[in-house]
């Protein structure tokens, strides 16, 4: 699996699970924390999406080129 994508995945699940586990009783009350966590998660997820689409575009290009050379 792509190393950078794996790191992003680990970052995401590490963040969300630590957020879930931390301050078991209180973190719903201090709701500012939730917004920070959700925002960071959205940012990481967006970076991941950009990465995925960049790989997709490059791969698509190479695949079409190799298909053309074959025909």
């Amino acid at each position: 699996m792509n190393t950078r994508l794996s790191f992003l995945l680990f970052g995401l699940v590490f963040l969300s699970n630590t957020a879930c586990a931390e301050n078991i009783n209180t973190w719903m009350v201090t709701d500012n924390k939730i917004n920070v966590v959700v925002t960071v998660a959205f940012v990481v997820l967006s970076i991941m999406a950009v990465w995925l689409f960049r790989i997709e575009t490059r791969l698509g290009k190479i695949e079409r080129q190799s298909a053309q050379t074959k025909s």
């Binding site: 699996m1 792509n2 994508l5 794996s6 995945l9 680990f10 699940v13 590490f14 969300s16 699970n17 630590t18 957020a19 879930c20 586990a21 931390e22 078991i24 009783n25 973190w27 719903m28 939730i34 966590v37 959700v38 998660a41 959205f42 997820l45 999406a49 995925l52 689409f53 790989i55 997709e56 575009t57 791969l59 698509g60 290009k61 190479i62 695949e63 079409r64 190799s66």
Partner: protein
Amino acid sequence: MSQGSSFVFFRGFAWKALSLILLFYTFYQGFNGTVPEMPILHQTIRNLYFHVTMWMAMLVLLLSNAIYGIRFLSSGNLDLDLKADECAKSGMIFGIAGLVTGMIWANYTWGAPWVNDPQLNGTAASLLIYAAYFVLRNAISESSKRAKLAAVYSIFAFVMMFVFIMVIPKLSDSLHPGKGGNPGFNKYDLDSNMRMVFYPAVIGWTLLGAWFTELRIRIRRIEQKIELNA
């Protein structure tokens, strides 16, 4: 090259977009939605969306590995072996993610990162089983032989993993009624609010795993082509 500058359509775009949408939804609703109030668990029940789903994605990827193994044995098509290999690799990544996140949660809730829990043992066992699968793959240099032996091993491995994580936890509960049935995982009585997040989360993470795998497969196909031409 008139195509190069025009907008590129991705192969199978819909499910990839769905994966991202579901994940954004999971992160938003997972932290903001309401959850039932339960002792011990409290708000940590939310890790159902971020930890248990890793495990589900791992299972789907490893099941695909076994299915590609069966299909390889019946057809002998080496491309299926490549797919099986990459499915197992992604499955391992999700398995490690599931294990690490489980340890984070256990450390906060039970006070220790490694406890005697059937689920935890099951994940560790699956990781070891598939580590042995990769040892086998690395031990053979001849590609058609490697594919065949790996396919046979992967089918055996998947059945054993299934027995370990699905059948044995039930047996151990029946042996030790007091010790089994830990307070964590058995009490997820999924209420409708949680289901509305959990099922999309499972689908989203699984599709993400499939996406990672598909990209790796395509990259390796190109690598193979380059090797053939060189």
